[in-house]
Amino acid sequence: MVTPLLDIRDFSVTFPSLGGDIRAVRGINLQLGEGESVAVLGESGSGKSVTSRAILGLIDVPPARLEGSILFDGVEVLGRSDKELAAIRGRGVSMVFQDALDGLNPVYTVGDQISELLRVRAHMSRKTAKAEAISLMQQVGIPAAAQRAKDYPHQFSGGMRQRICIAMAVALKPKLLIADEPTTALDVTVQAEILQLIARLQREANMALIFVTHDLGVAHNIAENLMVMYAGVVMEFGPTNAVFGAPAHPYTQALMRSHPSEATHWSDLQPIAGSPPDKTERLAGCPFSPRCPHSTDRCTKEEPALRRGPAGHQVRCHFDLDAQI
């Protein structure tokens, strides 16, 4: 087998805090080849952003404690110095941050920021970089791009800032693009354009993609694989169609039931009962068991492993449950 572009093995992240260790990610595995894509769905606080940042080596150690390994293009990312990490990132990972401010500097115009990136990393001349920056802004649908390139980040709307971050992330034609909720602030038409842009890059440049989102519709459309996370672990993993067609994990099922399109009035909305687990506690059994409608004694005592489920894809549950959504 050829080595995958990205190989995450038994990866865990723990943040020590005075109130006890916060176990943000607990043993994730993911292999991604060139041109492959995975959408990551999951609860808020389940460790999606932490995992994404870890791939770029952006988690500070200490305070965090990392275990396992993350290989990008055959090179270990964990435990690297900043300089080595910059080299690894230079080999082709970029990220669109959930926090748009993280990616933009408030004191430079957006045009300057994009062209600076192109000049330093793609060694373009000042003039070509400037033209390319404007063209990128156009590609992400910023109207009057040439004029707006001279504006500062705070002069843009929330969605526009997000699009500028996307433009910067794809500017260098990365081998792997990690997009952390890149379209949350975008309306459906612009969102559709961005998704098309990403799909095109995937096709043309054979780019691999990790796409974190809360939008089930977007997840369904953007990626061939789907990963569902809960409390820092992968609950379900498989081809998107298979998971959507026959969600096998009670959490995935409950998540789909809580989607607004399943309701006709707000009072029909079905949030998952109970509250997310406290990440400082060490749970003995299945992390979903306190909220799971199918939970049994076994669930509270024994942690289920990720295994091949009834529909053929990976599920972390003791039982073969029918899709009931």
């Binding site: 943040f15 020590p16 805090s17 005075l18 109130g19 006890g20 260790d21 500070d60 150690v61 200490p62 305070p63 965090a64 404690r65 408030p106 004191v107 705070h154 400082t280 506690e281 060490r282």
Partner: protein, 312 residues
């Protein structure tokens, strides 16, 4: 961290968190460099405040027999461990007494400049408008005037005294703080959380105090610590020109200035006060960096992890 800690209850968590002062103190005790810096500064301060008054006489008593008395000799008692100066005065006494004046002059000047500049910078940065325009023009004027020349002229007219010196130095250093505070305020003002505070109904005074001040303060602190050393040297310059401090008021800067002419006969007269300035400035800097890190919740998280063995 051990497993046991993961059983702490929420209330436990809160009560331990609620006392950040103790956490910070514990942190300080575990970090050698800032701890050393803190100890040095505290010792110097004690010397300046409580020891110096008893050494006033010794610091000015001339003893021609002990002119250029070399350091590290024990025959003349501890007052002459660090040698004697050009008129045979005890270097130890002078240094300790000088610490008092140095801290008084440089400390007050920087203190006044920093707090005034901080306040003005916050206000003019937040409100902008004509107030800001006037203030910034004034700052420009102060900066373009050669500060040494200006100080010279003013002190020449007013006559050299500790108070006048402090005033002149404070005015000269004011623009640095004003500009720093204003520049940061300008960018912080645009952040959403400031808008949030406005939307809650907070007054401008409250926004400046609660939202902007804590984010600008660390920078001001760092600049102040840098300026402390600079100001001590500036005093030396003025004394050298005859408008700074005059005997019997001496400070480290003056000592450096006085000793310079004997550099090749008696290096210690210059070097010891020089080292004193250096160590003070350095300690102040280290401590301010540490305070900056501790004040930032994100970085202090890292510090907590470091000292509690978070890296395992």
């Amino acid at each position: 961290m051990s497993n046991a800690t993961s059983n702490t209850t929420p209330s436990d968590d809160i009560s331990r968190r609620q006392n950040p002062k103790w956490v910070r103190l514990r942190l300080l005790l575990k970090m050698p460099l800032p701890l050393t810096a803190a100890i040095i500064l505290i010792l110097l301060l004690i010397a300046a405040l409580f020891v110096a008054p008893y050494l006033f006489e010794q610091a000015n008593r001339q003893n021609l027999r002990l002119r250029f008395y070399p350091p590290f000799q024990t025959e003349q008692g501890w007052l002459f461990w660090l040698g004697g100066d050009a008129l045979g005065r005890s270097m130890v006494a002078e240094l300790i007494y000088g610490a008092r004046t140095s801290f008084l002059v440089a400390g007050s000047a920087v203190g006044v400049a920093a707090s005034l500049g901080f306040a003005i910078g916050l206000v003019s940065g937040y409100f902008g408008g004509w107030f800001d325009a006037i203030i910034m023009r004034l700052a420009d004027i102060i900066v373009t005037l050669p500060s040494l020349l200006m100080a010279l002229a003013i002190l020449f007219v007013l006559g050299p005294s500790v108070f006048n010196l402090i005033c002149v130095l404070a005015v000269a250093r004011l623009p640095v703080f004003m500009r720093t505070a204003r520049a940061q305020t300008l960018s912080i003002r645009e952040w959403t959380f400031v808008e949030v505070s406005r939307s809650i109904g907070a007054s401008p005074a409250r926004i400046i105090w609660r939202d902007i001040r804590p984010l600008v303060a660390p920078t001001i602190l760092t600049v102040a610590m840098l300026e402390l050393g600079n100001t001590m040297l500036a005093v030396a310059g003025l004394s050298f020109l005859g408008v700074g401090l005059q005997r019997p008021d001496i400070d480290w800067g003056t000592m450096v200035a006085e000793g310079r002419q004997y550099m090749n006969v008696a290096w210690w007269i210059t070097v010891f006060p020089g080292i004193a300035i250096l160590i003070t400035a350095l300690s102040a800097n280290i401590l301010s960096n540490w305070m900056r890190a501790v004040g930032d919740p994100k970085q202090s998280g890292a510090l907590v992890a470091k000292v509690t063995g978070g890296g395992n």
